[in-house]
Symmetry: C2
Amino acid sequence: MRILIVEDEPGIFNFLKQGLEEESYAVDIAEEGKKGLEMALSGEYDLLLLDWMVPGVSGIEICRQFRKDFKDTPVIFLTAKDTVDETIFGLQTGANDYIKKPFHFEELLERIKVQLRPKSGEHSVFKLGNITLNTSTHQVFKAEEEIALTQKEFALLEYLIRNKGLVCRRSRIIESVWDIHFDYNTGVIDVFINALRNKLKLGKEENYIQTVRGVGYIAKEL
Amino acid sequence: MRILIVEDEPGIFNFLKQGLEEESYAVDIAEEGKKGLEMALSGEYDLLLLDWMVPGVSGIEICRQFRKDFKDTPVIFLTAKDTVDETIFGLQTGANDYIKKPFHFEELLERIKVQLRPKSGEHSVFKLGNITLNTSTHQVFKAEEEIALTQKEFALLEYLIRNKGLVCRRSRIIESVWDIHFDYNTGVIDVFINALRNKLKLGKEENYIQTVRGVGYIAKEL
DNA sequence: TTTGCGCCATGAGAATTTTAATAGTAGAAG
DNA sequence: CTTCTACTATTAAAATTCTCATGGCGCAAA
């Protein structure tokens, strides 16, 4: 999932960029309104985080322009406490949510997830090369052949495919798939990656799940 | 967790009540403003859901009065689309969030969870009789003795204790602890309840985890 | 190119989790 | 009070998941 942040304060956008990237979002920054609008209109993004007060074109103007072309992409405003009442105007121009500064990162994350959920929920079928994964039936196919996977194997594959093309860090995999948030020190991931590669018969020609040395794994088309 | 809904339309409050109770919240309804304020001020609730347009004392007035005594209890407004701009005024008077009608139940649920999270996060130690469960160290004690539990055993016990005093339906347990949201047809819960009762040595005198025939289980003080 | 280090792959065994079968029990019906 | 039925308790075995040890391999430095 790609997120565009339009925000001029480095303290804030660096904090956001780092945090969101750790959550496996792909993040771009625009420090100024005109550039932000231009990037937003490129259509590359799944969600916009707009600062209310940004130099150049205002956040609300970006939102309005953006909405002309993109009716479904969620927009969240970051607003200072004392401009909350203006922000409501932003909501009327098509923003989906706003969050008051200072905010807890966790809360922002929740709101982002809420906004992105309906869209990702629509698609219950994901593809990776000739592999098809269906989250509603919990089935996996390699070409025409159904592959029987266990719960954890399925969950791991789903995580990798949902983040197709993005490097998945071990720590993030452990958190998302195993729900372990504390002293992480285990080799389970390797074992299950191994199991997936075997069951899916991924040889050298079909190396869809690649190792990223020192970091984790990545699922990608060849 | 106890939630008070102040809302006059039966169609809405019944829908909310049922949905939230399925999520193991305890829900009360006030169909009218004066009664709603009175109930809110009783201090029994962990969260308020206020309709903006409610007969008698207005939602915003309830919120303002309530805030005088309860600084930390979250308040969420349910607002019709065409009164959004007034709602901002509600946010300024101390509401924590609002949601536009018509809304997706899932989204409301997320927002409720967000608001309740910080409070429940504060406490990492839960008690049930002489049993102590610590979520940050992942330890469980029966009186002074530490009891070694496996992951699933711990998760199940945590779920039961977090919902202490409330009946936990099998379907909810399966969803929360096992993360299974589809055709549920298994006897795992029974097996793990059994394991917990054994490990915690719950005899007839210390029947902290009781069976609710046909529904599920309940953890309660004696 | 060779060496050395550290990370990853792999396989086997241990522990946990799940299934499935049987026995037991509460509550309804007769 | 007895019987029947449906649900729960308990146990053992099967399946999955996890740990651990060993060997292999990539990458960097010499």
